[in-house]
Symmetry: C2
Subunit: 366 residues, 2 copies
């Protein structure tokens, strides 16, 4: 059996809704009403201005985001934001920005931030193998930090915060790359949120940034223009040629979220049911499947687990692939198995995977 889009449990770039893929396919030759391929329409066209404007409205509506936030569509992924954030918000500051080190991706942000200014790693889960998130009493946030930075969901280790961190008098910056628009997120409690698209909301190649306008007023003036949020904000994400197709797909995904799913509350309910189904297989497997994350900090997006031996994990992956499932190998940094169940993965697909896992265990036990 060949892999199927509907059974693509990849950690990212991840699956997209079938309806969105069909619309993207249609747009390759002809955007409805336009007569032209989406790949050949000018970013200065009225059509593209309306794409950006509808997409901004959709995100604002999904997140109930106030008007004093800019919504930007940039390139370079979260990696670029690891640098752009401190370039704008940390450069020249004397107090340290406070970073949490909760897994692979928040760790990647640290050296980039250190190049730009003083940071303090307030908590690190490294010694514990990033199997849990910190509790509030382990996080003595300082009122003087220019901002705090954390990653809401760690895709590699499968741990996720189920609450907003920090203090209301210190700007919160959050990398939501892997759970953005998967659930309501109290966006207005954050000063800056960034998320690359390739998990829940689109293809690789575009990054969404939500930034409260007061955060930009003190940014250094000598930044390269493409690294200055203000260039993109004042040009309405059309400062230089944006990734038109990737942005169009994100628009299609937000339409799907609004009109087919019904919004983020409904998306969250569905995502919870999907995650519960798989964690339940783990919990009832008599340790055949060993979840990595502490129960309280389990990710709703990435279910990371191990089997007894690497050889058995190989066998599991091969059997899964033969059954049409793909993308289940754990991240190369830690190995094991990882089922990523982003927005586009349907409940029936997760049920199929759960049944497959039960069957695989039964076959091993007999």
């Amino acid at each position: 059996m060949t892999p199927q889009n509907c059974l693509n449990f990849s950690g990212g770039p991840g699956a997209l809704p079938e309806r969105v893929l069909q619309q993207a396919q249609e747009a390759m030759l002809c955007v409805p009403g336009m007569g032209l391929s989406v790949l050949g329409i000018s970013h200065r066209s009225d059509w593209f201005a309306s794409v950006v404007s509808e997409l901004e409205n959709n995100i604002r509506s999904l997140l109930k985001l106030p008007e004093n936030y800019h919504i930007l569509f940039l390139q370079g992924g979260a990696t670029q934001q690891f640098s752009m954030v401190p370039m704008s918000l940390l450069h020249g500051k004397s107090f340290a920005a406070e970073y949490l080190h909760t897994g692979y991706w928040s760790g990647k942000a640290l050296p980039e931030a250190r190049r730009e200014g003083p940071i303090r790693v307030l908590w690190s889960g490294e010694a514990e193998g990033f199997r849990r998130m910190p509790r509030d009493e382990e996080l003595p946030f300082s009122p003087e930090a220019p901002y705090i930075h954390y990653v809401s969901n760690e895709t590699v280790e499968g741990v996720q915060f189920q609450r907003v961190l920090g203090r209301d008098d210190v700007p919160r910056v959050c990398d939501m790359s892997s759970d953005f628009l998967s659930r309501p997120c109290e966006a207005e409690r954050f000063a800056l949120i960034y998320a690359h698209a390739q998990k829940n909301i689109g293809p690789a190649g575009v990054t969404v940034v939500l930034v409260r306008d007061d955060m930009l007023k003190d940014a250094p003036t000598e930044l390269p223009s493409f690294l200055d949020y203000r260039s993109h904000a004042s040009a309405h994400s059309n400062f230089n040629t944006p990734p038109v197709f990737a942005i169009y797909v994100v628009l299609l995904v937000t339409r799907w979220l609004l009109h087919e799913i019904g919004g983020l509350v409904q998306m969250d309910q569905l995502n919870r049911r999907k995650a519960e189904l798989l964690y339940s297989v783990l919990d009832h497997s008599d340790n055949f499947y060993q979840g990595r994350a502490a129960v309280a900090d389990r990710s709703l997006m990435n279910i990371a687990f191990n089997l007894a031996t690497p050889a058995l994990e190989e066998q599991f992956l091969a059997a899964a692939l033969a059954a049409g499932f793909s993308g289940l190998a754990g991240h190369r940094a830690i190995g094991g198995i990882r089922a990523s169940i982003y927005n586009a993965i349907t409940l029936p697909a997760v049920e199929k995977l759960a049944n497959f896992m039960d069957d695989f265990q039964r076959q091993q036990d007999t």
Copy 2:
């Protein structure tokens, strides 16, 4: 009549070959042999490694590029390169890099370079409205410059260099965004070439950089990692999640260039015939169509011209659109008319436009 892809004379993002659009369309639901949408395949997959590797080979073969050049696929467009180049090659230098100011885009590179180190504008065509390129005797290149920088084709004004500039003892850096892979370019005479994809080779969202390996050895070590060419070179363009789909389309275009067109010599011949056809309409129009560029510096990619009045230009654009042609409005910086005839525009399409222009003139004259 609605606009047609084959009659899309947009300045960029521009038209792509029909065959490539069809293959991109197929890949939206299923990459041949993979079973998965191109939007949902991991950038760490064997498939993507083979895409990058075949694409590198194709570019190397098309340009006869020696092995001591890295071929990188980055994000951020030419705008990002305006900063990345001087960050790596100019920072901390005492002698000025020499820049040519030959039009809108080379002008955009200047302030970004000035932020990073000393530059000297060796020649500017601004006072003459960028209607011509400099002659060799107007370019007293210094042997001490860390590099020279120029734009091979100015898309806005429609002027293009038909020779390689500079001295062999000073590294040449060239923005070939709008004529890359449209003709042979003596790539091995350059130290660094960059080109965003959205003119001749793909959709917006990916930028090709060719850089000779000796250029990177003295780059500063404190660069943000995503702005350091070495990060991307050592990771084989998989340092952070690359724009998978855009890179795949560039691969499809290079296959088309190699296997359907036959290479860059053949592409260049075709492009010259297309340009000659349109310039011939201008030259035989008794000044009804007034070409912007000096004859010797006419672009083979962007034919920029004016009609007697803005009102007549509006009338021309409306009639063209009604006849199925799109993208003919000049760049917002200078107005007028611009026919961009990148690789994908066929000779029959250019013949249609030439006939349309003749007809339009005839109707006005009667």
